[in-house]
């Protein structure tokens, strides 16, 4: 091999580059307070005892998540007189795991992830759900070019065989679990879709965008997100339409660690529950929280209602 031949050696450029590199290397060190606020990983052990760490499965845009759970944190902190911190997590599985390992104290889970979390953390407490969560719905949507007519009943889903179809996130109750359950009832297996498998778009917003664009001919989404996409004009009725609405099933709920009473004092868990159930539209700050949650109020959530979700989860193999 020939030896290398360097034509020039830019010294000034080198100094600049060195400076840039040093600045780069030191950047993380110079930012500790902001880091503590925003980095989900930084829920270090040091503050574990005194702080209530809340989180949520990521099913909304980050700006809304930050706004919403920032408000929830300050409201809970005001009512319960403990520091509350919102720890963002971007992945459903990571939220369940972090709850199991005790890194999150109170999490807004979906139906399936909530059951997974309680099975992995025996004794975890179901705190509350929204008024709309006791009977939540998914909608099957289709690109208008796929020429799928609105379906009369669940058996009609058999029309989706051979179509390009996408779910939302793998662990989403409304974007995957219950839609797959109804597809099973109509005799549609996952390998029946075009390409031999469904897609997993990762989020409800992405599902709507991908079905609207035509990448997938049909998909299943959370009805609440679908409605808000219609309102904001992101979903175009001329290009994407609902073909079927599922029956109701229980979905989102707050779950808390079993040991909150030991850590924050006796009766803390029931105070927490009262704080949620007591949120009122008449209080401006609380009204904003309820508004962002898309709910009129929070209600206590009976544990028994999730038995159906667990059964479906086991049938589909998401709970083992």
């Amino acid at each position: 091999m020939t030896p290398l031949n360097f034509r020039r050696r830019p010294r000034a450029g080198f100094r600049l580059a060195l400076l840039a590199g040093l600045a780069l290397a030191l950047a993380p060190a110079a930012l500790p307070p902001q880091l503590q606020r925003a980095a989900p990983l930084l829920a270090g052990a040091q503050a574990r005892q005194k702080q209530l760490r809340i989180s949520a499965i990521p099913d909304q845009n980050p700006e809304k998540l930050n706004r919403l759970y920032g408000l929830v944190a300050s409201e809970l902190s005001r009512q319960l007189k403990v520091p509350v911190k919102y720890v963002p997590v971007t992945n459903y599985t990571a939220a369940v795991s972090a709850f199991r390992t005790g890194d999150l104290d109170l999490v807004w889970f979906g139906g399936l992830t909530g059951v997974q979390a309680r099975l992995q953390k025996p004794g975890a407490r179901v705190i509350a759900q929204r008024d709309i969560d006791a009977s939540f719905h998914s909608v099957f949507i289709a690109n208008t070019s796929a020429r799928l007519k609105p379906l009369r009943n669940v058996k009609g889903l058999a029309e989706l065989k051979g179509k390009r179809f996408t779910f939302g996130s793998e662990s989403s109750t409304s974007g995957r679990l219950m839609p797959q359950h109804y597809l099973n009832q109509a005799g549609v297996k996952l390998r029946d879709f075009a390409g031999g498998a469904p897609g997993f778009s990762g989020s409800h917003d992405a599902t709507i965008a991908l079905v609207q664009s035509g990448a997938y001919q049909a998909g299943a989404v959370n009805e609440q997100v679908w409605k808000s996409n219609l309102r904001s004009g992101k979903a175009d009725r001329r290009r994407v339409a609902v073909i079927w609405r599922t029956p109701g099933y229980p979905d989102y709920h707050w779950i808390a660690q079993p040991n909150l009473d030991q850590r924050f004092g006796k009766g803390f868990t029931s105070k927490l529950q009262k704080a949620f159930v007591g949120l009122r539209r008449s209080n401006p700050q609380q009204a904003r929280i309820l508004e962002l949650f898309g709910a009129q109020k929070f209600i206590p959530a009976p544990v028994s209602q999730y038995a159906a979700i667990e059964k479906v989860g086991r049938q589909i193999g998401k709970i083992r």
Partner: protein, 523 residues
């Protein structure tokens, strides 16, 4: 029977500069297939995405979140890189045939070390992250380790390859003169190894930044978290705030490393030329000394605590259903994953020299091409995949294009760098004799680079095999999608089987690419 095909194969052998262009032939079938998967229904979204690049969100909250996320990402990248380099050097020495042969007389332990190190390497850093999350909880140390483990094994492989490719005459002379194995190895091979290790080490830092971003994309903190959430909710203005910041950091880092590489007279990354380090040695030592306190400060700022490693959590409860695992459609899963890997690798490896040649006469074309390559490196593959889905149907082809675009950015930059440092004499002579700029570049410079570029391309194919995990989004039913599904179902038995399959595939792939590389470099 065997002699005749062997001879005809030899007659068919291509001129070396044409070799790197060979994989680009895959574009022919791809271009034929593209119209069939094109749907074009999402041009409005692509347009929104492109326009948003010129009006990123300047909201203080968005920028603040992106900046602090960037700090975390850079910190994780730096720590993971430094640790992996230290461990990788050690592993590289331990898996070098030359070292074992000199020390014990048998090279056998080296072969076993190499196989052993293929295990951590076969598992993508993202997967390490999600697995370690199960054992350690949501701690910063998880992301650092997730980068360290596979990277250390990768560095070990490259270091041992570099070591074994060094000429051993000096070593033999020292040994014959009675020098003990250790000092003889250090004296004969140490200085010769240094430039290669420095150059490769710098490159690993770039990779580490990309991996730290991707880990964030899958929920392990940092800027990737913001990118993922803004992407999934199609908030393109906010997405671009993060992307621009990341681009600045990426380009600054690349400029820094390039400056250092030139300063310390390093050979190009896949040039296997040997060159003694001049006066750079002292500066390197000084740089390493300066790096240590920086690393400590970064670790403290991130809250990385090595003691957390002692607090292992039990795995979630699980039961094994091995017959069900065995009943999975393994041949088709493996087949589609391998197909995806080969297609993406051929597209990436072949396109870089092809584009370089096409743009040779036009300086502005080269600038544009470099800008596009920078975007390829910048965008995590899931982002490219989603963008492609706006106009293409899901499937293996779309997934391959997404992976190829990312890896083209990486390979293209390496090729440019090698091209810049290769001798221009032959090219200028050809040019002076009246050859056009493209042919002069092809025969003047590519002929020197061809083999080492292809050898590097073989390494890259290994990486692409692991990266197939991250494009499950496009519905290509392969090992990657099944892996994400198993993770979200906490199906530990399936996970074990999948990791085992990835390990075997990596071992076979490395063996093949080793043979190919040896043949290429020997010829």
């Amino acid at each position: 029977m065997t002699a005749i095909p062997a001879r005809s194969w030899r007659q068919l052998r291509l001129a070396p500069p044409l070799l790197p262009l060979l994989p680009a032939l895959v574009w022919l079938p791809v271009l034929l297939m593209l119209p069939a998967v094109f749907h074009g229904g999402g041009w409005d979204l692509i347009g929104q995405f492109a326009r948003a690049a010129f009006s990123p969100s300047l909201d203080p909250q968005v920028l603040g979140s992106a900046l602090s996320g960037l700090g975390v990402t850079v910190g994780i990248a730096l720590l993971g890189w430094a640790l992996s380099l230290a461990l990788g050097l050690l592993g590289g020495v331990l898996s070098s045939r030359t070292v074992w042969r000199t020390a014990t007389g048998s090279a056998l332990p080296a072969a076993w070390m190499r196989r052993l190190l293929a295990v951590p390497r076969a598992v993508h850093e993202l997967l390490w992250g999600l697995l370690l999350l199960q054992l350690l909880g949501l701690q910063p140390v998880v992301a650092v380790l997730a980068i360290t483990i596979p990277y250390a094994a990768l560095v070990a492989r490259v270091v041992s390859d570099l070591l074994d490719a060094l000429p051993t005459k000096g070593l033999e002379a020292l040994r014959l003169a009675g020098a003990p194995a250790g000092p003889a190895l250090l004296t004969a091979l140490g200085p010769a190894l240094q430039p290669g290790v420095l150059s490769y080490g710098g490159y690993r830092l770039e990779c580490s930044l990309r991996s730290a971003t991707l880990l964030g994309v899958f929920g392990l903190g940092g800027l990737g978290t913001d990118l993922r959430l803004t992407l999934q909710s199609l908030q393109f203005h906010e997405l671009w705030s993060g992307l621009w910041l990341l681009l600045l950091v990426m380009l600054a880092l690349e400029a820094l490393l390039r400056g250092l590489r030139r300063r310390w007279a390093m050979p190009a990354r896949f040039g296997l030329t040997h060159r003694s380090v001049g006066r750079g040695g002292r500066e390197v030592a000084l740089g390493l000394l300066l790096l240590l306190p920086v690393l400590v400060v970064v670790a403290m700022a991130l809250g990385v605590n090595p003691l957390q490693l002692g607090q292992l959590q039990p795995l979630p409860p699980w039961s094994a259903d091995w017959p069900a695992v065995a009943a999975l459609p393994w041949p088709s899963l493996i087949g589609s994953t391998l197909g995806l890997t080969l297609l993406a690798a051929a597209l990436a490896v072949g396109s870089a020299p092809l584009l370089l040649l096409m743009m040779a006469p036009w300086p502005w074309g080269r600038v544009l091409m470099q800008a596009i390559w920078a975007l390829g490196r910048l965008w995590p593959p899931p982002l490219t995949a989603l963008l492609l889905l706006f106009v293409l149907q899901p499937g293996v082809l779309t997934a391959a294009l997404a992976l190829a675009f990312h890896n083209l950015g990486i390979l293209g930059r390496l090729l440019l760098e090698a091209e810049e440092s290769a001798s221009v004499l032959a090219e200028e002579a050809l040019g002076a004799a009246g050859t056009g700029p493209r042919l002069a570049l092809l025969y003047g410079r590519f002929s020197v680079l061809a083999r080492s570029y292809l050898a590097y391309g073989a390494y890259r194919a290994d990486v692409i095999l692991r990266e197939t995990v991250v494009v499950g989004l496009v519905g290509a039913a392969g090992l990657g999608s099944l892996l994400l599904e198993a993770l979200s179902s906490f199906a530990i038995d399936q996970l074990i089987a999948l990791v085992a399959v990835y390990v075997v595939l990596t071992l076979v792939g490395e063996d093949l690419s080793d043979r190919l590389r040896r043949r290429l470099l020997a010829a």
